[in-house]
């Protein structure tokens, strides 16, 4: 597979701000100094600003719509999510491939097709199971004995095993594609419309405006859009501060931080990014004095544990008074605000006594 190599090239920068190449500085060579200074002034870490559209009122959505900018944010740190793709924004390529009727088109990811195939197989499998249940009930209704039932069950078990084994061998042959007609799918030229936008989580947008100058919106303007400034008080700003502090903490230590909602937590931590590693850690952010009923923790932990990931409870602790923090906020001194919270972490893991005896 060439993909490995092209991925490491495609995703070689972990952040959308790229380092500059400065020439080597040789202490004994004044010429190299001059050249260095020239390069320093000429070069820059800045990038072309990414344009965001912010929609919604009470609930805000932050969207990037320009295709090259969507790809740029994905490639340089895996920011945002394609609204029609749940991950990398590939809807346009996928759909184009579908329309072309070319299942093996190289632009669509085969993974998604495989997933679909799997689902189809699964539903066939389920149908069999239903049929078997029916057989069993019939046997019982007809006054079958325990022994007869045991025989039937054994037969069914064998059948299912064979069926499972037969599946997966004839992959990618299932074909029935249902199509749909919607005028909005195509633009006036008759080409497929770019319907998909890349959505940034609010914390991502803050990171890309407050911490790194990437978006074409200032942090102050962004916050004014995200928060209710008419009723500004600690309680209106705190929930977002809490989320951002945690997000920034992990981002700044090199993790690729993505939404954890599908695992019922706040964030997923990837080393490098989704194409390289599975997420190993799930982060749930809490106040340092927050607690819930045990079932709250146990359900998150079971979802996370079921996916073989480690659950981290990240407790955000306030180091300054609420009043001080609101004042800093009103001065737009976000740096001081975010520095006024400390993160404290614990690993939360189910412990099974039987597995810890030696």
């Amino acid at each position: 597979m060439v993909k490995g190599r092209s991925n490491s090239l495609r995703y070689r920068y972990p952040l959308p701000v790229h380092p500059v190449d400065l020439p080597q500085l040789l202490p004994h060579s004044p010429v190299s100094w001059v050249y260095w200074i020239y390069s320093y002034v000429k070069s820059s870490n800045r990038i072309t600003k990414i344009h965001v559209e912010i929609t919604g009122d009470e609930f805000v959505h932050i969207l990037v719509k320009e295709p090259s900018q969507m790809i740029y944010l994905w490639d340089n740190g895996f920011f945002g999510t394609g609204q029609l793709s749940r991950s990398e924004p590939t809807w346009f390529e996928r759909t184009n491939a579908l329309i072309d009727g070319d299942g093996q088109s190289n632009s669509g990811t085969p993974l998604e097709r495989i997933t679909e195939q799997r689902r189809w197989e699964r539903s066939q499998f389920k149908k069999r199971r239903v049929e078997m249940e029916r057989q069993l009930l019939e046997l019982r209704k007809n006054g079958g004995t325990v022994e007869e039932e045991a025989v039937l069950l054994e037969k069914q078990r064998l059948e299912l095993r064979n069926f499972k084994a037969s599946q997966g061998s004839d992959s990618l042959t299932a074909g029935s594609k249902t199509f749909y007609d919607f005028e909005s799918l195509f633009d006036s030229e008759g080409d497929l419309a770019r319907l998909e936008a890349l959505e940034l989580m609010p914390v991502e947008a803050i990171f890309l405006s407050f911490a790194l100058p990437v978006l074409d919106i200032s942090a102050t303007a962004l916050f004014q859009r995200l928060l209710d400034y008419k009723n500004l008080c600690y309680d209106t700003i705190y929930p977002m501060i809490k989320q951002y502090v945690a997000y920034h903490h992990y981002r700044s230590h090199g993790w690729c931080v993505r939404s954890g909602i599908k695992f019922g937590c706040d964030y997923l931590l990837y080393k490098r990014g989704p194409p390289f590693h599975h997420a190993q850690f799930c982060i749930t952010v809490l106040d340092s004095d927050e607690n819930h009923d045990y079932t709250w923790y146990s359900s998150v932990a079971r979802v996370v544990g079921g996916a073989k990931k480690t659950l981290i409870l990240c407790y955000v602790e306030k180091l300054k008074s609420e009043e001080d923090i609101v004042n800093m906020w009103l001065r737009n001194d976000f740096t001081s605000v975010f520095s006024s919270f400390r993160v404290n972490e614990v690993v939360y893991k189910r412990w099974v006594p039987g597995k810890n005896r030696d």
Partner: protein, 467 residues
């Protein structure tokens, strides 16, 4: 899209959920015909093997029969599993109300290795939960008597106690919950003791409290924290201003990260012997009343255990009864309190399970505990198998281990109306670990080197391998 990004799909989740994880909790386990077989004395008829349960009542006679048999298997097993002991093994234990425990006049039995306290008169004193546990197993026979048995003056009346009598002696729900957790761990072979009130008599990782050290520790700690915060905030002011990227030039991504990571302070838990002892000294002074006291010290099953000099426990257990309206799950403030009070084999300190290390770091009342060293070849199998193989681990593997396992930890036993489960909660520290990817400058030069790795697919290119 990565393959894992379909978490809501149950098919996938079922695949990835490890079997053993669920088996111990799923209801499949309650097949009493299985218990009937295990139970040697049981006369329960063996019923046809049928692992799977039904979806719902279907009104058939056969299903009725199966349900009837399942219940018979259960009640037969219960009825045919009497508590008690044969006359030759009979050990009578007398409940003592003042002690709230039981006394055995002439103790014998294996249980003495891990339970009870034998006094100078040869009597064995059982704590109440030990008494209930042993009575419930049939190891001791529970009795009540009108006077201490050894006196034998006047009329000595002893009345045998039933299980109902024994349970009526629990003084609170909390005590009963503590017992259930105790019994749960004991049944699996763990060695479990309650914490002694007298600290001076128990093994500790910590030296005796030293007031001088405490002050020094406190001053140092706060000064250091203050300095770090101040320098960080100065540098942050510049980085997060609009001037930063106009004036500064970053020649590598790590440089940017190093500036980014100064923004949010994080707590660094103690990770070394020195740090642990320093923290202990600093914080001992203002300990308030414990909301979550440590209920038990727990040792893994072993034959070498000595009641007199048990050394440091492997685990410590805190109990949370979730349906008790007066209790809450611990908040971070509570967790912090619990972490401070821990005193066990801090497993992260020693890479190998090094006997010597723990012997040298166990104190009783501020003095070395003098735990007898195991003779050559006498170590438990579990220890010897663990030794070796842990050295020379790659840096990123070590880092992953630190992140996953954390530092100080305890077990939280949760009781949900009699169902017990455990959670291990450990201090973690992501703030001290950097995992950013270091891009290589000239990918062309590296192509040949990476080729073999890439051919295995696109996952698993380690940061460390690309430096």
């Amino acid at each position: 899209m990565s393959t894992e990004d379909h978490p809501q799909r149950p098919e996938r989740a079922t695949e990835t959920t490890s079997k053993s994880d669920d088996v111990d909790e799923d209801e499949v386990a309650q097949d009493w015909s299985h218990a009937a077989k295990l139970s040697a004395k049981s006369m329960a008829s063996s019923i046809p093997k049928r692992g799977e349960k039904d979806y719902e009542p279907d009104g058939t006679n056969l299903q009725e029969l199966l349900l009837y048999r399942a219940r018979e298997a259960m009640f037969d097993t219960l009825a045919n599993s009497p508590r008690g002991s044969v006359v030759s093994n009979q050990v009578k234990a007398y409940y003592d109300q003042d002690y709230h425990g039981a006394v055995i006049p002439h103790a014998k039995g294996n249980f003495l290795q891990t339970m009870g306290n034998v006094d100078e008169k040869g009597r064995c004193w059982l704590k109440f939960h030990e008494f209930v546990y042993l009575a419930e197993r049939g190891t001791v026979l529970p009795f009540y008597c009108n006077q201490r048995p050894e006196k034998q003056a006047g009329r000595f009346v002893e009345v045998p106690l039933s299980m109902q009598d024994v349970y009526s002696l629990f003084r609170s729900q909390a005590e009963m919950d503590l017992y259930f957790v105790f019994a749960h761990l004991k049944r699996l072979g763990f060695i479990v003791t309650t914490l002694d009130k007298k600290r001076s008599a128990t093994a500790s990782f910590y030296l005796e409290d030293d007031p001088n050290r405490r002050t020094v520790g406190a001053i140092w700690g706060s000064m250091f924290a203050f300095l770090k915060l101040e320098t960080n905030s100065l540098m942050n002011v510049f980085f997060y201003s609009s001037w930063n990227f106009l004036l500064r030039r970053y020649t590598s991504s790590p440089q940017i990260y190093k500036d980014l990571k100064r923004l949010v302070p994080h707590r660094v838990p103690p990770k070394t012997i020195e740090a642990l002892r320093m923290e202990r000294a600093r914080l001992q002074a203002n300990r308030s009343k414990e909301r979550f006291p440590i209920a038990f010290n727990v040792w893994k099953p072993q034959t070498r255990f000595r009641k007199k000099s048990p050394g440091l426990p492997d685990f410590q257990v805190v109990i949370h009864s979730k349906n008790d309206a007066a209790q809450t799950f611990p908040s971070y403030v509570d967790l912090q309190e619990i972490f401070y009070s821990l005193d066990y084999k801090f497993e992260f300190l020693s890479e190998t399970d090094d006997e010597e290390f723990w012997i040298n770091n166990t104190f009783i009342g501020g003095r070395p505990a003098n735990i007898p060293k195991p003779k050559q070849g006498q170590t438990d199998e579990c220890n010897s198998s663990k030794k070796g193989g842990k050295k020379d681990v790659a840096a990123h593997v070590k880092q992953a281990r630190r992140l996953k396992n954390g530092y100080r930890s305890f077990l939280l036993a949760i009781i949900d109306d009699g169902l017990i489960s455990f959670v291990k909660i450990s201090e973690a520290d992501f703030g001290s670990e950097d995992v950013w990817f270091i891009p290589y400058k000239r990918p062309r030069d590296r192509k040949e080197v990476n080729k073999s790795k890439d051919s295995f697919g696109n996952k698993g290119i380690h940061t460390t391998s690309l430096k």
